[in-house]
Amino acid sequence: MSTAISTEWVSICPVEDLLANTGLCALHEGEQVAIYKINPCEEYSQNFLYAISNYDPIGKANVLSRGILGNIGNHLVVASPLYKQHFDLFSGECLEDPEHRVKTYEVRCFNDEIQLKKSAQ
């Protein structure tokens, strides 16, 4: 979709700054966003970048970008580095405690850069 208007997206960093199967944290519109890169895998997803809030609502700290990635059943997840609850990378939902749901963000790789979508004004 090369027709996307560049002003709708904000570049964060070169995509090679994010190592496969790890996360990093970006400051985006005043919010902390955890961005992950996983090995694309047919079974789970064609995408390889995911973005959710960096704030762990259970551990109450900005740490989700530092968790381990993987899958639990059909869910693509990050495990909180504090107390290991799993957050679904698509929905932001906590698998152990569904009343906790973290915000998700749209993320893409464009011109070898990681970009986050601006929120609708």
Binding site: Q32, V63, I68, L69, L82
Partner: protein, 842 residues
């Protein structure tokens, strides 16, 4: 209501068990307990007495502590003997003149060694084998002796012989009967036991009746026997049986047996209803029970009766299984076939030195007794047939025949729930099954819950069978798969990685797993890869596997900041380095605390600060302390002979050498070590995974201790090792643990679940039973040769450093962090404090 006063005379194994049972009873609060001991210490394990000569200390043998008695409100008086009883006024008087009133009096005075009335028996180097003081006297005598004789070839005599052999004496056993262990063994068993013992270099003399002990020519003494022969020796150790310690009861007119022993009824009461007798001083149905298990049962019965229960003592099984001088021996029930009509099955294998005899009833349906020498594996099964009077299989001989293919196993289902599995702690099959039903799904958990197999350990195999059988009948599949991504246990994955030479998680996952992995299997695989490959853990193939702490080489705290712990080997640090730590802590405002592992922890470092902090520390000569890793943490130490007046070895140099050797070693869980410079044990080595205690002659090695959540005293593994052997054993031990432990299983739990336990571990590490010690050593050599300080590697790589900032696209720190000062240092603000935002620094 005033409390019921209970006095326990004697603080041996049985007296102590009585107190333990009393403390655990629901009526404990309404009882006031006081115990007297003529010995200078509280109860210790007399059954394990010979361990004293292979390096155990009096503390190792202790069954309890003053702390335990104090916590439970038990009064104890040592070194003071009860010398008189006033039955009508119900008080006792001690040797020191102390008077104490009682409501119930418990005589647990035990027994004393029988010394035959031989002229010359009272000389300086004629000793007995009963108390720790006796052992000290034996050790003292051995220093000036070359030859030692044990009088008595029974169970205790052979124990004593083992002790003399350990002390390096030329050892002889002199027995009056025609064979060794005449009570427990038949002729065939006694003959084989003798052969095995003589193979070990001891000399056995049977049918010898000692007439006198006179001065010797080449040795200190000469023993003259009735048949005209003689033996020269420097020391004589009498172990010719025990006699009940009953003089107090005799003097104060309790009913006695004709040949001694305090007569008791089924409630363990003596002829005075307020006085009980338990253990080896008590005579029940004309019998003295010289084993600890029946004594324990009596203790339980007496407590039951005093607290209103209905338990009765109805005799005890005298079957026994033990290892004498390394030889396995067991005896069950009617070992001699004295029952009218009894028939026998005998199996003899002279090549492998195994003897087994089954004594069965006339109709061949019930087991009456058995003798096992050299191979006692079937003891547990046979004992259950006997104790529960179960019908034998159609071909009883199969029970002792060498197993060809599938050995016949007794189905655990056939055992009644009441069957006693653990005699040390009186744990029934039913108790084990209900522990399993309540969620204990492995042997380790069952041991913790029920205490089964934690005494002599003889029932461990049986406990496992019961656990397995109960799990199966509950339909619980014992699944030790690591997680949904691998149908393998950690041990199996370690084998796969090691044998197939796998070097990355992706390779492992694509060949042996499914899905993407998770926070269970990734760090597990990462740890195994590091144990065998030892590559830089933040290398791009490995970085995604690292757990919370490893991935940023620091311990994440609750607010997402990290702690910084540089290595301080042995806790030895120069003033200059100490100043650097202080300066760094000051510059970054880090909360500073001394750790339990003798180093310094700096808390509250943010991601972006970590590289600068470590650069300064590395420049000052520090390296990473791996406090974040499932790996070797610290080696704790005392100052040893370098400073201490009591140190016997240079514990500090040893500590620094081994910390340097094993630093960075990744393992299934963290491992801790310590080295003490003498037996005072200031470094608390016996609470570590690997503990080393200096002796006059080298080092004693202890393994599988633990502090923390479930403390476990380390087991003595080997004694008086030289430096080289010590290191060799530790190398092997660690690599065997890495090879076989479960994920996050500390060495203590690992050992408890290891089939064969400590003996098996010794066979693997010391005797190289599996033939793998060469491999284990070369694996360790590889790890040591590829060590790197992960922080040094990291700060030298600008690419790696990019990850060390809170935001990839901004220099700001995490705005959610807030700190509060407490006692002059900052700590993370609580959520409440963040909201009120009062006195928040920064």
């Amino acid at each position: 209501m005033s409390k019921q006063r209970i006095i326990v005379v004697g603080n041996g194994m049985v007296g102590h068990r009585f107190i333990e049972n009393l403390v655990d009873s629901p009526s404990a609060d309404s009882l006031d307990v006081i115990t007297f001991s003529e010995e200078p210490r509280l109860a210790y394990d007399r059954v394990q007495l010979s361990a004293y000569f292979s390096g155990s200390t009096a503390d190792d043998l202790a069954l309890t502590s003053e702390g335990y008695y104090q916590e439970n409100g038990v009064n104890y008086v040592l070194n003071d003997k009860v010398v008189s009883i006033n039955k009508s006024k119900k008080y006792v008087v001690t040797a020191s003149g102390r008077e104490e009133k009682y409501d119930k009096l418990i005589l647990a005075t035990g027994s004393y060694p029988f010394v035959p009335p031989i002229p010359g028996k009272d000389q300086d180097h004629c000793l007995v084998y009963r108390t720790i003081e006796d052992l000290e006297a034996i050790t003292h005598s051995a220093e000036t002796s070359k030859v030692g004789v044990v009088v008595g070839g029974g169970l205790l005599g052979l124990e004593a012989a083992s002790a003399l052999t350990n002390l390096g004496l030329e050892t002889h056993v002199v027995e009056f009967a025609p064979r060794l262990m005449a009570v427990q063994l038949d002729e065939g068993g006694g003959k084989l036991l003798r052969r095995k013992i003589e193979d070990l270099g001891l000399t056995v003399h049977t049918e010898k009746n000692t007439q006198e002990i006179v001065a010797g020519e080449n040795c200190r003494y000469r023993m003259n026997f009735a048949d005209g022969s003689f033996l020269e020796t420097d020391m004589v150790l009498f172990s010719a049986g025990i006699r009940p310690q009953d003089e107090l009861a005799r003097e104060f007119d309790l009913k006695m047996g004709e040949r001694g022993g305090i007569v008791i009824n089924n409630q363990c009461q003596t002829s005075d209803e307020n006085i009980y007798a338990i253990g080896e001083c008590a005579l029940w149905d004309g019998r003295i029970f010289g084993l600890v298990a029946p004594g324990y049962t009596m203790a339980k019965v007496a407590v039951s009766h005093i607290t209103g229960g209905t338990e009765e003592f109805t005799g005890a099984d005298m079957s026994t299984k033990l290892k004498l001088l390394g030889v396995d021996v067991a005896s069950i029930g009617d070992a001699h076939g004295n029952t009218p009509g009894a028939q026998s099955y005998v199996y003899t294998d002279e090549v492998n030195e195994v003897y087994k005899r089954l004594v069965v009833s006339e109709d061949n349906t019930r087991l009456l007794g058995a003798v096992l020498v050299g191979d006692v594996e079937v003891y547990g099964n046979l004992l259950q047939f006997k104790l529960n009077d179960m019908a034998l299989p159609d071909n009883p001989e199969a029970l002792i025949a060498p197993s060809v293919g599938d050995a016949p196993v007794m189905g655990m289902d056939a055992l009644p729930d009441a069957a006693q599995i653990c005699s040390c702690y009186d744990v029934s099959k039913g108790a084990i099954c209900s522990a399993v039903q309540n969620g204990c799904t492995d042997v380790g958990a069952v041991k913790t819950e029920t205490s089964a197999a934690t005494g002599c350990g003889g029932c461990a195999a049986m406990v496992k069978q019961v656990v397995d059988s109960e799990l199966a009948s509950l339909g619980i599949e014992v699944n030790n798969n690591l997680c949904e991504h691998f149908d393998y246990s950690r041990q199996e994955l370690a084998d796969i990685i090691r044998i197939k030479g796998i070097t990355t998680f992706d390779e492992l996952l694509s060949e042996y797993g499914t899905g993407l992995g998770c926070e269970i299997c990734k760090p597990t695989a990462g740890s195994i890869l590091a144990s065998y490959g030892n590559e830089y853990i933040l290398k791009k193939e490995h970085i995604g596997l690292q757990d919370t702490n490893d991935i940023y080489l620091g311990n994440m705290q609750k607010d997402g900041t990290y702690s910084v712990v540089p290595r301080v080997p042995g806790g030895e640090i120069t003033p200059e380095k100490l100043i650097v730590l202080g300066e760094v802590a000051k510059e970054y405002d880090l909360y500073t605390k001394v750790t339990g592992g003798q180093r310094i922890d700096l808390f509250g470092a943010q991601l972006h600060e970590l590289p600068d902090i470590w650069r300064q520390l590395i420049d000052a000569g520090f390296e990473t302390g791996h406090a974040y890793g499932k790996s070797l943490r610290t080696v704790k130490s005392c100052v040893g002979s370098t400073w201490c007046r009591y140190g016997v070895q240079d514990s500090l140099s040893m500590t620094i050498a081994i910390e340097d050797r094993y630093k960075g070693l990744r393992s299934p869980h963290k491992v801790k070590m310590a080295v003490s410079g003498c037996t005072r044990e200031c470094a608390e080595a016996q609470s570590k995974d690997v503990g080393i205690i200096a002796t006059e002659n080298g080092w004693n090695l202890y393994v599988c201790g633990n502090g923390g959540m479930r403390p476990r005293h380390a087991d003595l593994f080997a004694t008086d090792l030289d430096d080289e052997t010590l290191i060799k054993y530790i190398d092997r031990f660690f690599m065997f643990y890495i090879r076989t432990a479960d994920r996050l299983q500390r060495t203590s739990v690992w050992l408890e679940n290891l089939e064969g336990g400590l003996d098996y571990l010794k066979e693997v590490i010391i005797d190289d039973k599996l033939g793998i010690c060469g491999e284990l050593e070369s694996e360790m050599t590889k790890v040591i040769g590829t060590y790197q300080c992960e922080w040094k590697t990291t700060i030298e790589d600008p690419e790696k450093l990019k990850r060390f900032s809170h935001f990839i696209n901004a220099d700001e720190p995490d705005s959610n962090l807030a700190f509060v000062k407490t006692r002059g240092q900052r700590r993370p603000a609580t959520e409440e404090e963040k909201i009120t935002a009062i006195e928040v620094v920064e």
